[in-house]
C-alpha cells in the first residue's frame, strides 16, 4: 500500500502529473472573482467563504478522471487487481493520493487567497479546518465516480454529473461553517456534519469503489 501511495505521489509531482492543475485553477478562480463582482469589500467578504469552497470543489473535480484512467490505459489496473493487495486498499490509496495532491495544497492556499476576497482574518483558521475536514470526502467520492467511469472514453462529463450532486452536502456544511465563523456564530454544528460526511464516505465508499472496479475490469 505504501509502495502504491509513494508511486502515485511520485507520478503526480513529476512532469505531466497534474499536481499544480487544481491549485492553479483555484488561484485563477479566486483572482478573477473580484474582477467580476467588483471591488466593494463588503460584498467580497460576504461571499468569500462560498467562493473559496466552490472554487476548491471545482479544483478537486478537475483532476478526478486521472485517478484510474491512466492506470487503466497502460494496463496497471488489471495487474493491480491481480496483485496481492485488495482492490479496497487500492481505492483507499488512490483517494489518499488525490487528497494529498489536491485537498491539502488547497487548504493551505485558501487563507492566502482569502486575502484577495477580503475574508475576515478571524476566519482563516476555520477555512483551513473546514477544507482539511471536507476535502477527504471530495477525494473519496470522486474516486468512486472515477471507478464508475473508468472504462469510458472521455468519461469526464459523466463523472462530473455523477459526482457533483454527491458533493453538495460537503459544500453546504463546509461553507456554512466558515460563514458562521465570520459572523461570530458557533460553527460547531456544521463542522460536526462535515466531519460526519467525511467519516461516512471514507468508511463506506472504498468498498463500493472496489466492487465497481471489479465490474468494470471484467
Amino acid at each position: 500500500m505504501i509502495a502504491l501511495l509513494r508511486r502515485d505521489l511520485m507520478l503526480a509531482t513529476r512532469a505531466g502529473g497534474g499536481f499544480g492543475l487544481g491549485l492553479v485553477f483555484f488561484l485563477i478562480v479566486v483572482v478573477l472573482v473580484p474582477f467580476g463582482v467588483g471591488p466593494e469589500t463588503a460584498i467580497l467578504s460576504r461571499i468569500a467563504p462560498g467562493i473559496l469552497w466552490v472554487a476548491a470543489l471545482l479544483a478537486a473535480l478537475l483532476s478526478l478522471d486521472r485517478i484510474f484512467a491512466l492506470d487503466h490505459e497502460d494496463g496497471s489496473l488489471s495487474l493491480l487487481a491481480t496483485a496481492p493487495i485488495p482492490l479496497e486498499a487500492v481505492a483507499v490509496v488512490k483517494a489518499a493520493a488525490h487528497w494529498l495532491t489536491t485537498g491539502v495544497p488547497l487548504a493551505i492556499a485558501a487563507p492566502v487567497l482569502g486575502v484577495l476576497l477580503h475574508l475576515d482574518p478571524s476566519a482563516f483558521g476555520l477555512v483551513i479546518v473546514t477544507l482539511l475536514l471536507g476535502t477527504p470526502a471530495l477525494s473519496v467520492i470522486g474516486t468512486f465516480g472515477a471507478a464508475l467511469t473508468v472504462g469510458i472514453r472521455r468519461g469526464g462529463l459523466l463523472l462530473s454529473l455523477i459526482v457533483l450532486p454527491l458533493y453538495v452536502p460537503t459544500l453546504i456544511f463546509g461553507a456554512e461553517a466558515v460563514r458562521r465563523g465570520v459572523g461570530g456564530l458557533d460553527p460547531v454544528t456544521p463542522l460536526l456534519m462535515l466531519g460526519g460526511i467525511t467519516a461516512g464516505a471514507v468508511a463506506l465508499l472504498p468498498f463500493a469503489t472496489a466492487a465497481v472496479l471489479r465490474m468494470n475490469l471484467r
Binding site: 509502495a3 494496463g75 496483485a83 475490469l217 471484467r218
Partner: protein, 204 residues
C-alpha cells in the same frame, strides 16, 4: 498444478469458448493457439481471475497466479528501476540482481521509461514477471514487439528459471518460443451456443 475442468468463458456477454479441460503439471508450459478473436485473451483473463467463468471450474495454488497483458503497465514518468521496484514492493520482494541481465535492461536502469523503445518497454514489462516471483503465469502475447534476440532471451528465462523451478506458464502466442511445451489448439472449443444470461447484464 493448474487444472481446468469443462471451462466456458464469455466476452461481452457471448460465450466464446466452452468445454475446455486440461491440466498443466509443475514445470511445464502450455501454448494457446487459434485465430484472432477465438478467445485466447478472454481465457487468460478468466484464469487470472479478472472475470468470472460462465461454466466449469479451474484450480491452481492460491496467491500464485500472475497475469501479463498486451499492455506493459509501464509508467513513462518513472525510471526503469522505479517501475520495477514498484512491482517488487507490491509483491513484497526485492529486485534481484540477476533480473537486470535476464531481461537485458541493465543499461537502461536509470532511463526514464517514457524514452524507451517499444521493444525495451516490453522487456521492462516482462521483467516484472522476474521480480514478482509467481509460479503460475498467464502470458498474453509476451513477445509482441520483441526482436529475435529478446525473444530467445525471454524463452531462456522461462525455460531455465521459471519452468526449471517448478513454475508453469500458459502462453498465448503466434511464434515458436522453442520451449518444451504442449500446444492447445483453441478453435475446436469455440462455443456454438452464444446465448449467455448472466442476470447481471439484465440488471444493468
Amino acid at each position: 498444478m493448474l487444472s481446468v475442468h469443462n471451462l466456458a468463458v464469455a466476452r461481452g456477454g457471448a460465450t466464446v469458448l466452452a468445454g475446455l479441460t486440461f491440466d498443466v503439471p509443475a514445470g511445464e508450459a502450455l501454448i494457446l493457439r487459434g485465430p484472432n478473436g477465438v478467445g485466447k485473451t478472454t481465457l487468460l483473463r478468466t484464469l487470472a481471475g479478472l472475470q468470472d467463468a460462465v461454466a466449469g471450474h479451474f484450480d491452481y495454488p492460491a496467491d500464485e497466479g500472475a497475469y501479463a497483458s498486451h499492455a506493459d503497465a509501464v509508467k513513462s514518468a518513472l525510471t526503469v528501476e522505479e517501475n520495477l521496484q514498484f512491482w517488487a514492493d507490491i509483491y513484497g520482494n526485492a529486485v534481484s540482481d540477476a533480473t537486470w541481465d535476464q531481461f537485458d535492461i541493465r543499461d537502461l536502469r536509470t532511463r526514464i521509461a517514457g524514452t524507451l523503445s517499444a521493444g525495451q518497454k516490453r522487456r521492462l514489462g516482462l521483467a516484472r514477471l522476474g521480480v514478482i516471483k509467481r509460479k503460475v503465469l498467464f502470458l498474453d502475447e509476451p513477445t509482441v514487439s520483441l526482436d529475435g534476440f529478446s525473444v530467445r532471451l525471454f524463452a531462456d528465462y522461462l525455460r531455465d528459471q521459471h519452468l526449471a523451478q517448478g513454475g508453469i506458464a500458459v502462453i498465448a502466442t503466434h511464434i515458436d518460443l522453442d520451449l518444451a511445451a504442449t500446444t492447445l489448439e483453441l478453435e475446436p472449443f469455440t462455443a456454438t451456443d452464444h446465448q449467455t444470461d448472466t442476470g447481471d447484464e439484465a440488471f444493468l
